[in-house]
Symmetry: D3
Subunit: 320 residues, 6 copies
């Protein structure tokens, strides 16, 4: 059950109308990593969490998800209110007056979101700073708790990054105060979801995701499970092999990173067979190409020896 | 510069046509977390990385991004080839024969992706398992290296999870072998991006994101930066306060988690002012509502005392 | 402020798993007229309503919008739970067992939503019955109260119609009971929004929308403001002129319907001027076409006399 | 059959180029409630109307739909022509000259739609004022005549509202005259579709939609079919119970509105069962959580008594 | 297999930052006909080409597709780099300084793409000049080689046209040089794909597409396969019959164009049957309309004689 | 002006209901290359054509576009009618009866489009065979007549190809007859648009597009305007150099094809400069990376000599 009253979570104050900034704030409300996304995401993850009845850890995670969703809804409300206040004074007749008074103002008004006036009547929309409507595909709820906790954390990272940038675009102290409050909360939410990972056992337990499929369940493919591969044409021309990811124990503590410096390919070229006539997919008049006499070696590829993968072969031991 | 030859990274073998499974494999190719997403994402992150010229760490990360993008392109190629092979034998005339032979086969064919036949002529598409076209909004490239490394890691987590589930949907040993190879590589890629985070200094350095805005840069809002808030109507009815995230040092090592058990709201209700006439937004005939005589206390809200936020007030020290 | 507990508004019971029906229920959750749409719409309309501070009627409408939004969120929760229960038992391994037991079951499973397994791990999504993700453009919040109340009413009409059809697709008594509860609530909501229109003064006050622009504010165009026009090639071959809309007082009580039986056109043909060179838009080598010598009457259109509009001319008095 | 000539329905005159206004007019052409939407909607409703052969009322509605669709196509043509004329003079070379002459002009040009130049070569597009392409999901054609007539009416309401706002954004007398003509026609169309509802028997006959499912067909759920429910945390803090919708006869004349002041929930909390192993959805190493020893009362929720629903219980008679 | 190094195909130089132009360049990167589209399209066509194993012509086409895809990827890289350089200097703090210095600059900045700052951190995106994300539906890969070669040619035509227009929008000599290089390559690619058509036998062989279905395979419908039909209400008022397409041999050399000057319709009006009750689609209370007594001739359409199609009848010989 | 009557262009007959085939026919109505696309495209191209007033060739093309648009609208009508008839008998109650009678029928019904029942009430939609809504981005209208004529031709090619494949999916003789009529018309339309190209002067005149920018207007880049480049890692391993496109006169008759066998790159690697602090884009604590001491040659790339481009250098004469 969900109930409400009319109080905002934190005050929203706007010093002066600013329709151009209202356009930019939309990114925080209805963008891919906006507050509406995390609100919807935490609701769906919470409602869909399986196994909470019999497992106290999951019970707590479900509660945390739904509690946090309530807070995110309040953030959407605060941003909608902020946009409404920023647009107060931006109606067509007021714009006309302002533009008459100053060409510079007219120009700025030219950059505002026309749908804020024409469609929404000076209100917010579920859309980003360029008017792309919010999309259900922004939401991730996979049913895998660990994967979703990491995903929630990055949503808060990208969202907080955007809030920080938007805050740089305004001098309005009221707006900056509200956004700073949100930056504080996004900090907490980043940490909170990673804390859940820690409670689940930390990286060494939940990685790799899904954790049931550790490297030693992959048969012969175990050998490439910790091997970083370079695809630089000249091995000496890339620095990929110098990083933390090229040696030393893996993050999950279950393996050791290695490095394959030369391009690695075990597969061979595949040419799909000709399509049946009903597909109308091949040459007109000669679907199978049978009547086309090949001239010389036309169409025959020489064996490609330019890309060696000795190191890969050494590791894998096949296709020498 | 990008060059190529016709070899696959790893062999793709399909034992028998299976148009229904071809539909499901599309999720791994063109879904939100499919291989085309990570290919495009690593390219854009690599091309857009700033500062690599003067910073060896960034040089290496740029190389790692672009090298890995090459591998992901090979995965898209392998999945396209797999889908092509799974659809071999599914042309309309072959379907008609199969359906005549068995009502069950006819029914299964009814579940296949009709665009595989009608639009693509027995080929793959940049679309997910339900035919939603791949979307540029799937890609994240923020210019913040740490945020993007975490994002890359979760793309590999969600993608690997989906590959594991798709592998469960088939008994074809050739297909399963190719997918198992990919599961090995997705394992590596999860770890690799987190290894970059570690090289950047680990969680305590890169968190919170953006890391320049630590809690102590947020002024009075520092007090809510590590405080988990419950929005359960009855504090006793939620378990949110019992987790790792409710006490003890924060993940970034820069603060301590606390817990606010009762709903927290510092803001007050905001009613937006009436819109100017030109917005056509209010009551017809009386845009300002001035002539509507209020009867009794209609429209006056009583003060809401049901949701206490003592703890929040105690922490914040305002709006007592 | 928004708070919650874990109770559903109305019980959700599912007798047996039914992944095919789960796909169909998605329309009610995440389709254009699904519960997520009205939840988001009532929130945005409520948050964005202007003038509530000084006008009790608007205060009440704002409260009604936000209260109803809470209920709609509970409906989204109920449908998510329903889909989760319908999918219980549809994991890949369980499917494999079921399919082995019966070709017919296998075929039905072939029709289920593959993203329910691969992407959501047996959970609901913000998408419709074909997997189109929910879209922010589904929401209407115009700032014109009367227009939005009518819009809310039709959302409940189309939504209730779809719920009625979905209920016909199942025999599960638990599911039918929950959907019947929702049909009762959708009935109320249709009526509730039309009751707001009545309180605003009813059709004669709020129509036309926007009501400030009545026919007598439109100058010479008042004459076509109540005139239904036929575009039937043969006036005798259409029945358009026989309805309620062709005569008698208009719905808003401010005019009288009339009927123009023959196609009406006051405009003349417009050929846009040639584009400047930088647009690269016209004939190669001769952007203005100046050097092309017209032969005979080529390209000259005869005067068109086939479509008479005597009646229109008689009414408008121009272009005889 | 559809035939044409080159005359516009009403003249389109533009006094001077205005690429910024051209961008705004796109909303009326290709926005959610633009003329292209109603053209496509009336065509699809007309083509898909069932039962017209044997029912004269439906015959007339089919004719009215298709006749009106012809008019809407002429409106799309007029707006395309208007945009073409507004863009005449906005090619890159002309822009460069204008910008050289005046920084303010340069700035305004910066706000124009770049796709009008780059993609369309100074022409209109099927897109809204921010360039979101027109979407088939904008169209509603449900097969339920009464629901679709109401839907048509609100499309004309929202569309007319937007046209009124766009007209406020220009002083061009030619453009304003054409838009005023359209405002007159939109007035007629609003009324015309409601007149169809009246001919079908009016609100008391067609409501609720679908009308076959009146409250007395809903069994025990009849009791909530006319009951407005508040979800205000404090019943005294909302005004929802004071409106027309909280008492008196319902709009359809078949019931009486009532009001439930306190949050209403008949359902209980539902925790979904743990997912099978193949879903990879739960805790790594322990999918069912069986081995996790609960400590104390961790994860056990206390009974929630904060949200009372006596009134709901009194009405429903269960879950006391 | 795909490998890479860090060299660009052609140098990218930018003289000065220009965030407004960066917005416009996005069309060439991520628009419908941008470089990312052709890159993805040639990859998918190459991977999906069937029959190359046994047909040297197809082998060569497959190689050409994949080689050209490599080049297009380099074009995407060049444009991403160009956008990155154009945005260097457009961060919020630098914008604030610039705007303080000049109102005109401030106004221009108001027209830039806010997502370039907020979301991408001064980087490119897979989106067009208005921020519409790139869409997998832009790609065509039909499996019909001839159709796809023509399609590739028009992608290069539309893309080159857009590049030419974008080049007109800047005076930056570095940018213009890079775009001129691309114009040269797009010229080649237009021709290259048409050269493939020529190698396949030219228009007379590959047309009509699919070429297996020539006119003489269409039975009685052969008679309309080369007949241009006018739908002008007045035959004298259209010039459609005067073109190359109205007489003389057809382009494929297999027929002769003819011209039907008057609207052609062989079909009769179809009224769909009434829907079953469970569709809730018809009149409330009377789904079949049986009890509605028709008054007079209401709802009966007169026979339509206004649109004669003598010429069509003469050709088809039926429905005299 | 547009007028209509109720006759179809060609009869639509359906022998028996087939909801699965109705789903497939949607591709021809509302897919990317469906009839709705060409209808909308020809309208927009016709309305937006510039220069027709003074140029008879353009007058005729404008008439041909709008006349053909009328025909395409009739095709949309025919397909909508066909879908309506195919769905007759597929309402929920009828499905239940059918499914009871036969598990195979039940399974087929499981594959039908659920939105045909739930949303459209047994009617067609503006969507493709997987329910992706029609999108305005499908339409191309560039203002360049030659480019658009080629584009129209390929729309008819891809559309006809799909119609041919759909016809293969049914044995219904009525449906096949209607589709065969459409195949005849699509043949004409392919040829008709290419005939316009011929009238404009043929390939040698209109190519390259835009034709004003011939190779000799491109300065030093003329040298790569007819040069096909291979990006095969091993020049001997690709057949790209063997085709019509690698030598002999170019298609436009203005140059000669040549072939660059080894990967061609004139550009150098570009590392973007570090972002300003306000972008929060680089390393935390050290945005410029200045304090990170490079160890050894870490991060320094060796000069890449693996990919030679002697031939390119020989042609271009720079970067030896």
């Amino acid at each position: 059950m969900y109930v409400r009253n009319n109080r905002l979570q934190y005050p929203v104050r706007v010093e002066k109308p600013d329709p151009l900034f209202a356009k930019q704030v939309q990114e925080l409300l209805g963008g891919k990593y906006g507050e509406f996304t995390v609100m919807a995401q935490y609701l769906q993850q919470g409602w869909g969490l399986r196994g909470a009845e019999s497992n106290p850890k999951l019970t707590r995670i479900k509660d945390l998800l739904l509690d946090t969703a309530m807070e995110e809804m309040m953030h959407v409300e605060m941003l909608s209110t902020m946009i409404g206040l920023l647009l107060t004074g931006a109606s067509p007749d007021q714009q006309a007056q302002a533009a008459d008074a100053s060409p510079a103002v007219a120009a700025v008004l030219g950059g505002m979101n026309p749908r804020h006036v024409i469609v929404a009547g000076l209100g917010a929309q579920y859309a980003d700073s360029l008017g792309n409507p919010w999309n259900g595909a922004y939401v991730t709820a996979s049913g895998n708790v660990a994967a979703d906790m990491y995903t929630n954390a990055i949503c808060e990272m990208q969202g907080r990054l955007q809030a920080a940038r938007v805050r740089e675009l305004t001098d309005d102290t009221g707006v900056r105060d509200t956004l700073t409050f949100m930056l504080a909360r996004d900090l907490l939410h980043q940490e909170q979801w990673l804390a859940v990972v820690e409670e689940l056992g930390g990286a060494t337990t939940v990685l790799p995701i899904p954790a049931q499929l550790t490297a030693d369940t992959l048969g012969k493919h175990e050998k490439v499970a910790y091997a970083v591969m370079s695809y630089s044409a000249d091995p000496a021309a890339t620095t990929t092999g110098e990083g933390r990811w090229a040696s030393d124990p893996s993050i999950d503590g279950k393996g050791t990173f290695s490095y394959i410096a030369e391009p690695y390919a075990e597969g061979t070229s595949v040419d799909l067979p000709a399509a049946p006539a009903a597909i109308y997919g091949s040459l007109p008049g000669d679907p199978t190409g049978a009547t086309i006499a090949p001239k010389g070696t036309q169409g025959k590829r020489a064996k490609d020896t330019s890309l060696i993968h000795k190191i890969g072969d050494a590791i894998t031991g096949n296709e020498a």
